[in-house]
């Protein structure tokens, strides 16, 4: 028998708060998985099901996954506890960073550090774009959609909603046709 099959709302909030406050640079999914399985809140199949849903719906994956787990063990109140746990520590930390930012941004050393950090964050985003594009390389339709989306957004300044409707819609249509063709064959 799992030790904690029906955890208190406080324990749900605290578990996810700890994960959120220590989730530097990824690895959160693995740490959520470890924690919820070790506590016997949900089983592995149910976890991966939740991960898929968390990734397909809008919102940060970490937040969605925590909500899913919270809801599985304690219903909507559990989901709310998980939401609070994931949101509050990063909010407090980012606020503290903001207060320091507005106080010290004009100091030449802080200014230099911020500019350096911005160059670093730009590099990370570029690297991320490269990695994600590499994942799409097997389909010409996907590569064309990546390029068309980037051009429409950066050159034509197309807003997000039509971008998702047109290019996201075309991608979903293409994927649906591909799956249908494969199941007929």
């Amino acid at each position: 028998m799992p030790a904690e099959a029906r955890p208190s709302l406080g324990s749900i909030a605290l578990t996810f708060a700890t994960i959120a406050a220590t989730s530097f640079g990824g690895g959160q999914k693995a740490s959520i998985r470890r924690q919820v399985l070790a506590r016997g809140w949900i089983d592995s199949d149910s976890f991966f099901e939740g991960l898929e849903i968390a990734q397909v719906l809008p919102g940060p994956n970490l937040l969605n996954l925590a909500i899913y787990c919270g809801q599985r063990v304690r219903g909507v109140p559990g989901a709310v506890a998980a939401f609070a746990g994931v949101s509050i520590p990063p909010f407090a930390i980012v606020l503290a960073a903001g207060v320091l930012y507005f106080k010290f941004a004009s100091n030449p050393f802080v200014h230099g550090a911020l500019r350096g950090c911005a160059a670093g964050a730009l590099g990370l985003t570029f690297g991320n774009a490269l990695e994600l594009t590499w994942d799409e390389r097997k389909s010409w339709l996907s590569v064309a959609l990546v390029a068309a989306t980037a051009l429409a957004v950066s050159l034509l300044r197309m807003p997000l909603l039509p971008v998702l409707a047109i290019f996201g819609g075309a991608g979903i249509l293409g994927e649906w046709l591909r799956v249908r063709k494969r199941s007929e064959a």
């Binding site: 959120a20 989730s23 530097f24 640079g25 990824g26 849903i53 990734q55 397909v56 719906l57 809008p58 919102g59 940060p60 970490l62 969605n64 909500i67 809801q71 989901a79 949101s87 520590p89 909010f91 980012v94 606020l95 960073a97 903001g98 230099g112 550090a113 911020l114 500019r115 350096g116 950090c117 911005a118 160059a119 670093g120 964050a121 730009l122 590099g123 690297g127 991320n128 774009a129 990695e131 994600l132 994942d135 799409e136 959609l145 990546v146 989306t149 980037a150 957004v153 950066s154 807003p159 997000l160 909603l161 971008v163 998702l164 996201g168 991608g171 979903i172 249509l173 293409g174 994927e175």
Partner: protein, 176 residues
């Protein structure tokens, strides 16, 4: 009051459109926060995004900083409203989905939607690179720093916040 309503409207729309973990919303957030409402400059936007990547938790928590800057008289209120608008709507969808989920899980639609949306999200990430570049320093030292981070990110296991901190050290030495 008007600013609060605008913050709510901007960030709740971004929340609902935040597919792919929210990776694709950066260009639209820049348009809203910098161009349309002038809450922050391009340089501040990039630096807030950077702080979002540096602190633990979802990157989009940097919405709090945009809210903070948008309401200088009541910065905490601005930060709280922007954050709530950024996180609550997508969370309500997640909670509401639980009841529909049984119907959805048997069908292949989940995989079709997430794989089908992926190319558009990746295109939006490329546009985010250009958006972030607008507020990043433009000097040879800065470009070399970005290039070094791309290399280290793809070739080593050094985690992202540490790479940002290292870039900051370079910045103190070379980008003052």
């Amino acid at each position: 009051m008007e600013t609060l309503i605008h913050l709510l409207s901007v960030f709740s729309q971004l929340s609902i459109l935040g597919f792919g973990g929210g990776k694709g919303i950066i260009p639209q957030m820049h348009t809203d926060a910098v161009t349309t409402y002038g809450w922050v400059s391009s340089q501040q936007f990039t630096q807030f995004y950077t702080i979002g990547k540096l602190v633990p938790g979802p990157t989009t928590i940097f919405a709090a900083l945009v809210g903070y800057a948008a309401l200088p008289q009541r910065p905490l209120l601005g930060a709280a409203v922007a954050t709530a608008a950024m996180f609550v709507p997508s969370s309500l969808i997640m909670i509401g989905f639980d009841s529909l989920e049984a119907r959805f899980s048997a069908s292949p639609w989940r995989a079709i939607i997430s794989r089908g949306l992926a190319p558009a999200i990746v295109g939006l990430v490329w546009s985010s690179v250009l958006t972030i570049a607008r507020g990043a320093p433009s000097s040879l030292a800065a470009y070399l720093t970005s290039a070094a981070v791309v290399f280290l990110m793809l070739r080593t296991k050094i985690n992202a916040p540490l790479l940002i901190v290292l870039s900051g050290v370079v910045g103190i030495a070379a980008l003052r």
